[in-house]
Symmetry: C2
Subunit: 65 residues, 2 copies
DNA sequence: ATCTCGTGTCAGGTTTACCTGACATTCGAG
DNA sequence: CTCGAATGTCAGGTAAACCTGACACGAGAT
């Protein structure tokens, strides 16, 4: 699922590890998300949206909309 | 994660199996969601939102909002 | 009373999200 | 040139989401 995670992260000058710590996940999880290897759980998607102050749909593209 | 799935489903007169077929998941998956045993994947959450014509956040409570 | 339909629940299996740890590469700072 | 920081990538593990199949139970219809 396409997403703007890498864009949002680097716009804030955060490293992958920074972001992982802020979200409570590992760096590997960040890598997998940024490189579209995984889709996040809904709970993690909510945490990401809260962290960046954007709705989930503007960060993770909804293929069923 | 608290959700309104059962409410939305029965409001439409659908069985758990009906809903599962419309969403492309098993009846067990529906049961697990309705009884809060599982959180959905983001992709499934998007399919559910599309099916009921509501945003994800009004169906699945966001504990990080 | 029986039959059916919807639901609840158990058992066991597969896939995927997420984990830790290790190492190679690149690149800017000193 | 060297060092450290950030990233990429691999290997192997755990946990949760999802699967199929089976059976018990209650409520309604016949």
């Amino acid at each position: 699922m396409k997403n703007r995670l890498k864009e949002l992260r680097s716009a804030r000058g955060w490293t992958q590890e920074d972001l992982g710590k802020r979200l409570g996940v590992s760096r590997q999880a960040i890598i997998a998300l940024e490189s579209d290897k995984h889709d996040p759980s809904l709970d993690l998607a909510y945490r990401i949206a809260a962290l960046f102050g954007e709705p989930v749909e503007t960060i993770f593209e909804n293929p069923h909309a």
